[in-house]
Amino acid sequence: MNINTGFSTVTKLLLLAVSLFATPAFAHTETGVAGGLISGFLHPIYGLDHLVAMVAVGLWGAQLGKPAIWLLPITFPLVMAFGGVLGVAGFPLPAIEMGIALSALVLGIMVLFSARPPLALAALIVGFFAVFHGYAHGAELPGAANPLAYGVGFVISTGLLHLAGIGLGVLTRWPLGTQAIRGLGGMIAALGVYFSAASAGWM
């Protein structure tokens, strides 16, 4: 037997075997319902500006107590969806990134100082910023692998981030916990300053 032929056959065999284990190449990194759901779910979590603002909503709700603690998480998704509709429609809303950055700054300050404005004003502040967050998510929706699954994913994710904030807000029952929550608010506000400066092109 010719040794060269043997090597050649083994090489071909190995190449064929390796090619059988190739992973598919997708034009879009996520596919189908699961892909849309995952990308929607991760969108608010991977964006630190979204993440801290959503947690701040929950923290502030916990500080304000009833009825804000349940009113804010229930009304937020609807106002956010309104922003989402503007994003889907491609409505030219100015300074989206700045709006999101300012939401972290303003909501962080509210938590830092444990501000207690009238409920209507608190809802107005949260609702105003919800439009910017919704717009950013909604603008991505038409390009998603599955737009409905994407919407389901990001609404659930946003709700769970609020819940995380409310859960952390339980600490406000203890004096030391109250200080810790206010400290978290300060950190969120500081991040808001950074996001705002970055959005303005200063960094």
């Binding site: 032929t5 319902v33 998704p77 609807l78 989402g84 737009p147 919407g151």
Partner: protein
């Protein structure tokens, strides 16, 4: 007599074929779900693997839990029957695309009603359940199965409707009666569903028709 090199090549090809076959094994099923009762499972999975049906049905189950006990019980009978009727009509009659818009609006309507958490008058509630069931059932119709195993498929869709609405109604009633935060969780669920519906409706009205 064959050339030795050709023999080696043939042996290698045979071995390669064996290796390729080993790398592509298929599942061996003791019970063939794709035959006999296959269409039943297809019907069972169709609504629960389609978010356009699953999400509004989730809202409907939550809404049923918010009604009085007799009205909740009516849902368990009315909704599966309405879905059966709708899916039978959808399998026998031509597609009605306007019903897709109605189904999208059901996200908003049912989600909004859960958010409000108000008991509805019996007639209005039963009408809503019947309309939702028939409309979503129609979209679950399978004309390709006409003259084949359509009955099995319809039984599957109806079972899915019954199981989903029963589990969700029971969960919703438990949530609103037991933990103090339960009613908030149910209303927040309604808010999320209405929000999803608002955006998906906008997508379908503004973007999808223009897509190539």
């Amino acid at each position: 007599m064959q050339h030795p090199m050709r023999l080696t090549s043939l042996t290698a090809m045979r071995r390669l074929t064996v290796v390729l076959c080993l790398l592509q094994p298929g599942w061996a099923h003791a019970h063939l779900v794709s035959t006999r009762f296959g269409e039943y499972y297809a019907g069972l999975l169709h609504p629960v693997t389609t978010l356009t049906h699953l999400v509004p049905w989730l809202a409907l189950g939550l809404l049923a839990g918010l009604q009085s006990a007799p009205q909740s019980r009516h849902t368990l009978l009315l909704f599966p029957l309405a879905v059966l009727l709708g899916s039978a009509l959808g399998s026998l009659l031509p597609p009605q695309h306007w019903l897709d818009v109605i189904n999208l609006l059901s996200f908003l309507l049912l989600g909004g009603l859960v958010l409000l958490a108000r008991p509805l008058p019996v007639a209005a509630y039963c009408g809503l359940i019947l309309a939702t069931g028939i409309s979503h059932g129609y979209a679950n119709g399978m004309p390709e199965l006409y003259g084949k195993n359509l009955g099995l498929y319809l039984a599957g869709v109806t079972t899915a409707a019954y199981l989903l609405v029963t589990v969700l109604t029971a969960t919703s009633r438990q949530l609103i009666t037991r933990p103090s935060w339960g009613i908030i969780a149910v209303r927040a669920g309604g808010s999320w569903i209405a929000a999803i519906g608002m955006m998906f409706l906008a997508f379908n009205v503004l973007i999808a028709p223009a897509a190539p």
